[in-house]
Amino acid sequence: MQRTATRESIMEILAEVKDPELPVIDIVELGIVRDVVFEDDRVRVDVTPTYSGCPAMEVIERDIVTTLNAHGFGDVRVRTTFLPSWTTDWLSDSTKQKLKDYGIAPPGAVEASRGGIAELVTLRRAKPTAECPYCGSANTEERSEFGSTACKAIHFCNGCHQPFDRFKSL
């Protein structure tokens, strides 16, 4: 245990851990690290899942432990918290830019639940728009709300005729 460690210095180390499915984004800017708490000689890292079944969470938890171990913190505990629930609104503009540079359209603002039928029936809902990360065209359409991972939707660009991923607003 390094006695000089602070919450901030641990956060800096945790920024070395990348999302395995989005290797340009680290877990701190993704917003899933909620807190760092010192419990005697142990470092406790509180994380919150992105999606209930996201398989990357298990890998991330392991990476947190091995990364902190490598920095001399032998006793690390990862605790899962659920409230407040993770939202893409926590992503900063610079993080969204990184996604875009990586070829994934960033999420727009989360639409609050309006409750009841208005939000449940697709035809009554405006489909999310996205700018093509390849050619910048705004002439794109959502093809499916479900993509290669839980966090992505499939869009198609009518400008450069290529499919692309959009990071879903959640």
Binding site: S52, F82, S113, V121, L123, F146
Partner: protein
């Protein structure tokens, strides 16, 4: 209280585990690539929600059973899901109708559970609620597309609705456990949810140019461990790897 809470959590978890497994059976067999991906994603969400709920159930029970033990080493009679989720996939209309009727139910249940006095459950529900919002969008869109589509798709959607409708009343049967959980501020109010479910389902079915079938009810009892013959067969496949290699980790 903790016995009832354990039982209540199993009900929530098993609905999602069994339906999630059913949807996973479509993986690689979807009618088009986007739908194959969509059902696999929804399956992953449901199994994820079930995992979190079973983990919490195991902690509440306090006998050292984790989510894997609860998923893979219980018999059909110990499962507490409603029967609608264990029905076979059938054709795509059967899968979508089953999904739509459950999604609308789950949307309202999770919406309420976000306010549960059991804070872990409230947190799991808040996460699941965000997910079920887009599940309902997916299944309601397909209800409209199939019902108001071709003669063939309309006929199949109506047949699916007629076949599955009798399994829906079971979702709203509130027994002593539901009442105890509701009174404790833990559980959802199934009696209050029923009219909301009716209204959304009727709206979508009508817009899809389909007809709500006449009321009928099967003998339910899934919450007490009475299941259709389909569940045992499904579990034998779901559980075989874990049971053939007990203690294996991967």
């Amino acid at each position: 209280m903790s016995d009832s809470l354990f039982e209540y959590l199993l009900r929530l978890a098993d609905d999602r585990l069994v339906l999630g497994h059913r949807l996973s059976e479509w993986c690689g067999h979807g009618p088009i690539l986007e739908e194959d991906i969509a059902l696999a994603n929804i399956s992953l969400d449901l199994i994820g929600q079930a995992t979190l709920m079973l983990r919490l159930a195991g902690e509440v029970e306090g006998k050292g059973r984790n989510e894997d033990v609860l998923a893979y080493f219980r018999e059909a009679v110990d499962f507490r899901n409603v029967q609608i989720v264990e029905l076979p996939n059938g054709d795509y209309a059967q899968t979508i109708v089953r999904q739509f009727l459950f999604d609308v139910y789950s949307y309202h249940v999770l919406e309420q559970l976000q306010q549960s006095s059991q804070l872990e459950l409230a947190g799991i529900a808040a996460k699941g609620f965000k997910e079920v919002r887009y599940h309902v969008r997916h299944s309601s869109e397909w209800m409209l597309r199939m019902g108001d589509g071709t003669e063939e798709s309309h006929a199949r959607a109506q047949k699916a609705l007629d076949d599955i409708w009798r399994f829906t009343p079971e979702m709203f049967v509130a027994d002593a456990i539901d009442d105890e959980m509701l009174a404790a501020g833990v559980g959802s109010d199934l009696r209050a949810i029923k009219p909301k479910w009716d209204s959304v389902v009727t709206d979508v079915v009508t817009r899809a140019t389909l007809s709500i079938p006449a009321d009928a009810a099967m003998i339910g009892g899934g919450r007490k461990g009475r299941h259709t013959e389909y569940l045992g067969h499904m579990l034998s496949e779901m559980q075989i790897v874990a049971r053939s290699h007990p203690g294996a980790e991967w």
